[in-house]
């Protein structure tokens, strides 16, 4: 068998970090605040497309160069340009990266915020789910057909991670992995802190009984919009990291299955539990990557059996088993009380 274990482990860690970020954002939205966000594919893709645009249109400008249209006839010169910039001007690359993150977060957040208000009109709750799923597909089809964004169905290559200017490729991948995990960890800390605060108390009340919460003076619509802003911003950041990780932006990476994957992560790991979200993200990432590797290895060994198909069946079966026998997930929701309780114990 021909596997570079170290590289695989680093890759796994990176994918885990991105998955964790997505899982924590969904856990905040649904597990804590009770908003069923079926729009991961949409928000993640917005982040990725933002990266596609900034790396081809903004970065050359930051480097004092002309912007070259990245598709069609000028595809190769544009690709060469950005590859060169990233190799020789790491400062520009990093600056572009930072700006991309901010823009993606803002765009994702605003779209999430807007959708939250739009869907106040929707009658049954799960219609919101459908709107988001469908919205993601609409964006995907438009981006796939309208060239100027990411060269339609061809996609954009050469969207490299911010450390790739290092001579030591392994070091570059380690640094990127650590950074991604850092982002995930920051999201985790934020979410944990939020839950124990008065705002967390507010979210749980809204989740449990929206009508009573409103009668106690809480502006439920605004709270939901706030959470959607934050969650969508996180998802968009995950999208940027995702695109940079594979170095390629293609509309077909952001399909409905992505949304399902993230839901599986939090359902498996445990709703309302941030650690559970991490566990779920880890499980799904490992399952996904390991079975992919096994499938490739089996194919290389000449096996006729399409293991790929079995992967999905396995996925579905595991999810059904969890829903049936342990619907609360691996780690059930902790009885997190707000900090007020710690203060009251003393007095």
């Amino acid at each position: 068998m021909n596997i570079d274990f170290f590289a695989t482990a680093i890759a796994l860690l990176t994918f885990f970090g991105i998955a964790a970020l997505m899982a924590i954002s969904l856990n905040l939205e649904y597990g804590v605040a009770g908003i069923p966000n079926f729009g991961q594919a949409l928000f993640v893709s917005l982040g990725a497309y933002t990266a596609g645009i900034t790396y081809t249109r903004l970065m050359p400008l930051l480097a004092g160069q002309e912007v070259i249209f990245p598709c069609g006839n000028t595809l190769n010169p544009a690709l060469q340009l950005r590859t060169e910039i990233m190799r020789t001007l790491p400062g520009v690359g990093l600056a572009n990266f930072a700006i991309t993150l901010v823009i993606a977060a803002v765009i994702g957040g605003i779209v999430g915020y807007g959708i939250s208000y739009l869907t106040l009109r929707v009658r049954q709750e799960w219609y919101l789910a459908l709107v988001l799923l469908v919205g993601g597909e609409i964006v995907r089809i438009i981006v796939r057909g309208y060239e100027p964004i990411i060269c339609a169905s061809n996609g954009l290559s050469g969207i490299a991670q911010p450390f790739n200017w290092l001579d030591n490729a392994q070091l570059a991948s380690i640094l990127f992995a650590l950074m991604v995990v850092g982002f995930a960890f920051a999201a985790y800390l934020y979410s944990e802190r939020l839950v124990r605060s008065p705002y967390g108390r507010l979210l749980k009340a809204v989740r449990e009984n929206e009508r009573v919460a409103r009668s106690l003076g809480k502006n439920v619509a605004r709270i939901r919009a706030q959470i959607m802003f934050i969650g969508s911003a996180m998802a968009a950041v995950a999208g940027v990291l995702f695109a940079l990780n594979i170095g390629f932006v293609s509309a077909n990476d952001y399909v409905v299955t992505l949304t399902l994957d993230v839901w599986v992560m939090i359902v498996l790991g445990g709703l309302g539990n941030n650690k559970g979200a991490l566990v779920g993200a880890l499980l799904v990432t490992v399952l996904d990557r390991v079975t992919a590797i096994v499938a490739i290895q089996l194919n290389m060994l000449g096996s006729e059996f399409e293991f790929n198909y079995l992967r999905f069946i396995l996925f579905g079966v595991i999810l059904l088993l969890m829903l049936r026998y342990r619907p609360q997930g691996i780690l059930p929701e902790p009885q997190h009380t707000t900090l007020a309780h710690d203060m009251s114990d003393a007095s």
Partner: protein
């Protein structure tokens, strides 16, 4: 726009609309009687199509036999899913999202089992073996026997379904369940029995529509999954409860996808690759502007009412 092109797209809209109607009625039934947004419905359709393929290759090319066996196969699959997955879950009073995720998972499993079987028996890129004949030809249109299978069958099934709902005891029980679940149980309607029979009905509809869809276009394991959002669009137009609304919605969706798309392409140069976006845009518009669909207009009509 040239006449033949327009007529051709209208014929296509009619055929596809009929198929969408059959598929969407299954969804509407599921939503109103069983209260489940079932994304695995897509796979019941695909099962119907592949049964049609296998039957046509190995057993007979008689369309009645093909349709019948496809209907039965899909009904069987629907029943199995009910007893194996949905019923045990329903007993635990799950949230709508649990059921949504469950139905997605069931769909996923069925889809890839089909992939495995298709791969194993080398059924990729095969067409259902039915004789293709031209039954009507004029200056502007050509109608094949397929057209005359699809549209009248749809009509017939819709009428049969309507008759069943309005004039049989089972139909009454189904409507009672759709109108008021708790009350129905109290009156003594055997809820489990009605549910099982409803699933059979849903499966039959899906099977027939899958077989016809396969005859009309082609067969691949993703065909149900690819069509399902158009189908949901149609069902949403009917507010998930009105039959007439669903059927009209189906034709509207099909018309938008085909004729309107054709017009947009011819006059505005809009590329056909945007065609899948049409049902999605319809869904969003309906949900945001008129979430109850068109049920109000058909409140007094036949069908299940809320």
């Amino acid at each position: 726009m040239p006449g033949p092109l327009l007529v051709d797209s209208l014929v296509r809209s009619l055929q596809v609309g009929s198929l969408y109607a059959l598929m969407a009625l299954g969804i509407t039934l599921t939503m109103s009687v069983i209260r489940l947004p079932n994304f695995a419905h897509a796979e019941y359709i695909t099962v119907g199509a592949y049964t049609a393929l296998v039957v046509s290759l190995a057993v007979s090319s008689n369309p009645v036999v093909i349709l019948g066996l496809s209907a039965l196969a899909a009904a069987l699959v629907a029943l199995i899913c009910h007893f194996a997955v949905f019923r045990p879950l329903e007993k635990r009073n799950p949230s709508t999202y649990t059921m949504l995720l469950a139905s997605f998972s069931v769909g996923l499993i069925l889809r890839y089992i089909l992939f495995l079987l298709v791969d194993r028996f080398d059924l990729f890129d095969r067409r259902i073996a039915v004789p293709l004949e031209i039954w009507y030809r004029s200056n502007s249109i050509i109608l094949t026997n397929v057209f005359f299978w699809v549209v009248p069958t749809t009509l017939g099934l819709v009428l049969a379904l309507s008759a069943l709902l309005n004039y049989t005891p089972l139909g009454r029980e189904m409507r009672a369940l759709a109108n008021n679940f708790e009350l129905a149980r109290v009156i003594g309607i055997r809820v489990e029995r009605v549910k099982s029979l409803t699933w059979i009905l849903v499966g039959l509809l899906a099977g027939v529509s899958g077989a016809l869809w396969g005859i009309y276009s082609s067969v691949n394991p993703l065909m149900g999954w690819l069509a399902i959002l158009s189908v949901f669009a149609a069902a949403i137009m009917g507010g998930m409860s009105s039959f007439v609304g669903t059927i009209l919605g189906a034709y509207l969706v099909s018309f938008s996808e085909n004729t309107v798309m054709q017009l947009l392409n011819y006059y505005l140069g809009l590329d056909f690759s945007f065609k899948p976006a049409v049902p999605f845009i319809i869904i969003i518009l309906v949900l945001l502007l008129r979430p109850q669909g068109f049920t109000e207009f058909f409140n007094r009509a036949r069908g299940l009412q809320r």
